[in-house]
C-alpha cells in the first residue's frame, strides 16, 4: 500500500515537473521505465536534471547574447583600454600596455579626492533624496485627485520627463543667466544680489544647486508615476482600519503606505542613484562646466575631458571603470537588500 502511494506521489511530481518544463510528450516514455526498474528511473532523473539545468539558459541565451554584445564587450574593451596608452593612427590605433599606471595616477590625484568624487557623491545624494521626496509628494497628490485633474497633472509631469536633457538644461541656464535671466533679475530687483557682480555659474555651490534643480525636474516624474502605481495597489481597507484606530494622516503614511510599497521605493531610489551618479549633460552644458572650471568636475565630465579633450583615452577609461565599480557596488547592495526583503516576506 505504501509503495503504491509512494509511486503515485512520485508520478505526480514527475507530471507537474514536466508540465512546468512544458514537455508533455516526454511523460509516457518516462512513466514506462519508472514502473519497471529503478536503474531506468535514475537515468531519467539525470536527464531531467540536465534538461532542467540547461533549459533556462537556452531560453535566456538570445537575450544574454545581445547583452554580452552590447554591454559586456564594450565593458571589456573599456577595461582593456584603461590599461593602455592608446594612440590614434590612420587605419587603426595602437595601444601600449602600461599596467595599472592610469589607476595609480587617478587614485593619487588630489583633484579626484578633493573635487571630483565629493562633487559626484554629494550631488547624487542630494538629487536622489530630493527627487524621491518630491516624486512621492506628487504621487500622493495625484492619488487624491479626480480623474480629470489627474490626467491634466500627469500630462504636465510627463512633459517634464519627455523633455530632452539638453533642452531642459538650456532652459535652466536661461533662467539663472547672470544679469539677464529671470531668476537673476528677480533676485536683483529685491536686493538679494548685485546682478553686475554675480555669476552663479562660476561658484561650485550655486553651480551644483542649479544642476540639482535641473536633474530633479527631469527625474521626479519617473518617481511620481512609479510610486503612484504602487499607491494604487494598496487596499483601501488598510487606511479605513487605520482611521478607525485613530491614526492621523502622517501616521497612516509612515505605518501603512511606506511599508506596503517599500519595494517600489527601493527600486526608484536605486535607479535614481545610478542615474544621478553618472549625470553628464546637465553639468557639461552649464557655463564653465565643459572643463574651464575644474571646481565643478564630476566623474562623467572628468572622464570625458581626459579621454576626448586630452586624448588620453586610457586615463578616461580608468575613470569610467571607477564609475562603473561605484555603480556596481551600489547595485550589489540594492540586490542584496531586495533578496533580504524577499526572505522576510517568506
Amino acid at each position: 500500500m505504501s509503495e503504491v502511494e509512494f509511486g503515485t506521489v512520485k508520478d505526480a511530481t514527475v507530471v507537474t515537473d514536466t508540465l512546468v518544463a512544458g514537455g508533455p510528450e516526454e511523460t509516457p516514455a518516462r512513466r514506462g521505465p519508472l514502473k519497471q526498474d529503478t536503474g531506468g528511473a535514475e537515468a531519467a532523473r539525470r536527464r531531467k536534471n540536465l534538461i532542467n539545468l540547461t533549459r533556462p539558459w537556452l531560453l535566456l541565451a538570445p537575450s544574454l547574447v545581445v547583452l554580452a554584445g552590447l554591454l559586456l564587450w564594450p565593458l571589456i574593451q573599456v577595461g582593456k583600454l584603461s590599461l593602455q596608452d592608446y594612440a590614434v593612427k590612420f587605419g587603426g590605433g595602437v595601444g601600449t600596455y602600461t599596467g595599472f599606471d592610469h589607476y595609480s595616477d587617478l587614485l593619487s590625484s588630489s583633484l579626484l579626492w578633493k573635487t571630483v568624487l565629493p562633487n559626484t557623491v554629494f550631488f547624487a545624494l542630494a538629487c536622489v533624496g530630493l527627487t524621491v521626496a518630491l516624486g512621492t509628494l506628487v504621487a500622493l497628490l495625484l492619488n487624491r485627485l479626480g480623474a480629470t485633474w489627474r490626467l491634466i497633472c500627469s500630462i504636465a509631469i510627463l512633459a517634464a520627463w519627455a523633455m530632452p536633457a539638453v533642452t531642459g538644461t538650456y532652459v535652466w541656464i536661461w533662467l539663472f543667466q547672470p544679469q539677464d535671466g529671470m531668476v537673476s533679475q528677480i533676485a536683483g530687483s529685491i536686493g538679494l544680489i548685485d546682478p553686475e557682480t554675480t555669476n552663479w555659474f562660476t561658484e561650485r555651490g550655486p553651480f551644483y544647486a542649479i544642476a540639482t534643480l535641473n536633474v530633479i525636474h527631469h527625474g521626479f516624474p519617473f518617481v511620481a508615476i512609479t510610486v503612484l502605481a504602487g499607491l494604487m495597489t494598496i487596499p483601501k481597507e488598510l487606511y479605513e482600519a487605520g482611521e478607525l484606530d485613530g491614526a492621523n494622516a502622517w501616521q497612516r503614511f509612515w505605518n501603512i503606505t511606506v511599508p506596503t510599497i517599500k519595494p517600489v521605493f527601493l527600486v526608484v531610489t536605486i535607479l535614481s542613484t545610478i542615474w544621478d551618479f553618472k549625470v553628464f549633460t546637465q553639468i557639461y552644458l552649464q557655463p564653465g562646466g565643459d572643463g574651464s572650471n575644474e571646481e565643478v568636475y564630476n566623474l562623467g565630465v572628468f572622464s570625458y575631458i581626459q579621454a576626448f579633450a586630452k586624448n588620453d583615452y586610457g586615463a578616461g577609461a580608468a575613470a569610467a571603470v571607477l564609475l562603473t565599480l561605484l555603480l556596481l557596488l551600489i547595485t550589489i547592495v540594492y540586490i542584496r537588500t531586495l533578496f533580504r526583503q524577499g526572505e522576510e516576506d517568506l
Binding site: Q77, K89, F90, T202, S292, E295, I305
Partner: protein, 433 residues
C-alpha cells in the same frame, strides 16, 4: 571591433555613394591619375563659413567634372563635432576618411601625426604656388618642413567697436593699451547698459593677444620639446592687464566671466556691446542679425602696449588631401579651389581672407574700412599657436580659459593662476613628448 567599424563604414559608404564604395575602383591606370572618369571624390566642408556653400560647390563640381571627368560629393560638417568625426574616420582608415577635407589649422598637427594627411610639399613646389602663400598661414600647416595641404582661407581677430557711440562721446579708436583702458572706462561710464569691453572668460583668443602683445608666448620649443611660457614675466603682464579690465576697471560685468565668443556674438546682435575683440567675419554677421547696426561698426587692429599692434591669432582652414587611392585626383581639386577664381569667389562670399598674397592684396586694395584693419592685422601682426598635437589638447581641455576665469572670479591671483596653467600645459606636453 575595428573590423566591424570598417564593415559598417563600407555599408554606409556603399549606400551613400556610388563610386567610392570599398574596393570600387581598382585604380589600375596609376599614371593617369587626373583622368577621373567615373570616379567620385568625397569632400568634407565645414558648415557655417559660407552662409550658403551649396551653389558654390555646385559650380566648382561642374567645373571639376568638365576638367577631369570626376564628380565630387560634398558632405557638410559641424565645427563643434568635426574633430571627433575626423578622429573616428582616421581610425577607420582609407575607406572612411574623405578624399579632400577642410581642416582647421590647429588640427593639422594631430591629423598629420596619424599619417592620415598627404604631404604635398613637392606638389606645391611643382605647381609654383609656394611663394604666393600667406606666410603665417603656410607656416600653420607645415610641420618639420612638410606641408599638409593648401591654405584655403584665414581669419584674424582685431577690435570691433560701435562707431556711432565713439562719435557721440568723442572717442578715438585706441592705439595703445592705456588708450584701450581709458576708452573702455569712458564707454562704461557713458553707456552703462552696455558691456564696454567684454573680458570673456571662455574665449582663449581674446586673451592671447595680450600675452603676445606684452612680449610673451603661450609656449616655446627648444630641442623638440615644448614648454609653457604662460607664466613668464611678460605673459603675466599681459594677463594682468587683460583681466584687470574686468577686476579693477570693471568694464566687463560678472556675467561675461563665463562667456565664450558665441555669447559675445549674441550680445553684439542684441546691441549690448560697445567694443570687443572680434573676428574679421563678425561685422557682417552682426549686421545680418541686427540691421540697425548697419554703418555703425568700426574696426581697428588690436593695439600694442605702447603703440603698434598686438599680435592676434591667425586661424584658418586648409584644404588637405587624405591618404586614399584617389589622392592625385584630390590634389587637382584642392588646387582648383585654392587658387584663382574659385579662391577669390570663396573669400568674397565668406568675408574671410584668401590664403594667397596676391588675392589678399586685391582685397586690401579695396580700402573697405571694415576689412582693411583686419587685413593689416593679418599681414603684419598674425600669430599662430604652438604647432603640436599637445596644444590642440591644451585648447580642448580649456587651460587658458580656466586660468582667465579663476582670475576673474578672484579664486586665484594672476601669478597663481598662470603657474597652475603652466603646470597643466607642461603635463600635457610631457605626455605627448
Amino acid at each position: 571591433m575595428k573590423r566591424r567599424v570598417i564593415a559598417a563604414g563600407c555599408i554606409a559608404m556603399s549606400i551613400g555613394l556610388t563610386a567610392t564604395a570599398c574596393g570600387g575602383d581598382d585604380g589600375g591606370d596609376g599614371g593617369k591619375a587626373t583622368d577621373g572618369k567615373g570616379k567620385t571624390l568625397t569632400v568634407w566642408i565645414m558648415e557655417g563659413t559660407n552662409p550658403d556653400a551649396r551653389p558654390f560647390f555646385k559650380e566648382a563640381g561642374d567645373a571639376f567634372e568638365k576638367k577631369t571627368g570626376a564628380k565630387i560629393k560634398v558632405e557638410y560638417q559641424q565645427w563643434a563635432t568635426a574633430q571627433k568625426k575626423f578622429t573616428t574616420a582616421i581610425e577607420g582608415g582609407a575607406e572612411q576618411v574623405p578624399d579632400v577635407a577642410e581642416v582647421g589649422t590647429t588640427w593639422v598637427p594631430q591629423f598629420a601625426e596619424t599619417d592620415a594627411l598627404v604631404d604635398v610639399t613637392d606638389d606645391v613646389k611643382k605647381s609654383g604656388l609656394g611663394d604666393d602663400l600667406v606666410e603665417g598661414l603656410k607656416d600653420a600647416g607645415t610641420l618639420d618642413g612638410k606641408q599638409y595641404g593648401m591654405p584655403w582661407y584665414a581669419g584674424v581677430r582685431s577690435v570691433v567697436y560701435r562707431k556711432d557711440l565713439f562719435e557721440k562721446h568723442d572717442l578715438k579708436p585706441p592705439t595703445t593699451w592705456k588708450e584701450l583702458q581709458a576708452t573702455a572706462k569712458t564707454l562704461k561710464e557713458k553707456e552703462p547698459d552696455k558691456v564696454a569691453f567684454p573680458v570673456a572668460g571662455g574665449a582663449e583668443m581674446f586673451a592671447a593677444p595680450f600675452v603676445w602683445g606684452a612680449g610673451g608666448e603661450l609656449a616655446t620649443e627648444s630641442g623638440g620639446k615644448w614648454k609653457s611660457g604662460i607664466n613668464s614675466p611678460e605673459a603675466l603682464k599681459g594677463i594682468e592687464f587683460y583681466t584687470g579690465l574686468a577686476t579693477k576697471d570693471k568694464v566687463s560685468p560678472a556675467k561675461v566671466n563665463t562667456w565664450t565668443e558665441k555669447e559675445v556674438g549674441d550680445a553684439w546682435n542684441k546691441g549690448e556691446i560697445s567694443m570687443a575683440i572680434g573676428g574679421n567675419w563678425t561685422p557682417k554677421a552682426i549686421v545680418d542679425a541686427n540691421p540697425d547696426l548697419k554703418g555703425k561698426l568700426g574696426a581697428v587692429p588690436i593695439p600694442g602696449e605702447n603703440g603698434g599692434m598686438s599680435k592676434s591669432f591667425l586661424g584658418g582652414s586648409y584644404l588637405s588631401t587624405f591618404n586614399t587611392d584617389k589622392k592625385e585626383l584630390a590634389w587637382e581639386f584642392v588646387k582648383m579651389l585654392t587658387t584663382g577664381d574659385f579662391a577669390a569667389k570663396w573669400a568674397e562670399q565668406t568675408n574671410y581672407f584668401p590664403g594667397q598674397n596676391s588675392e589678399l592684396k586685391k582685397i586690401a586694395a579695396k580700402k573697405d574700412p571694415l576689412v582693411e584693419p583686419f587685413a593689416k592685422q593679418m599681414l603684419e601682426a598674425g600669430a599662430t599657436v604652438p604647432k603640436t598635437k599637445a596644444y590642440g589638447e591644451i585648447q580642448a581641455s580649456k587651460v587658458i580659459p580656466g586660468m582667465v576665469q579663476s582670475i576673474l572670479t578672484g579664486k586665484a591671483s594672476v601669478k597663481e593662476a598662470a603657474d597652475k596653467a603652466a603646470k597643466d600645459m607642461d603635463a600635457i606636453f610631457a605626455k605627448d613628448k
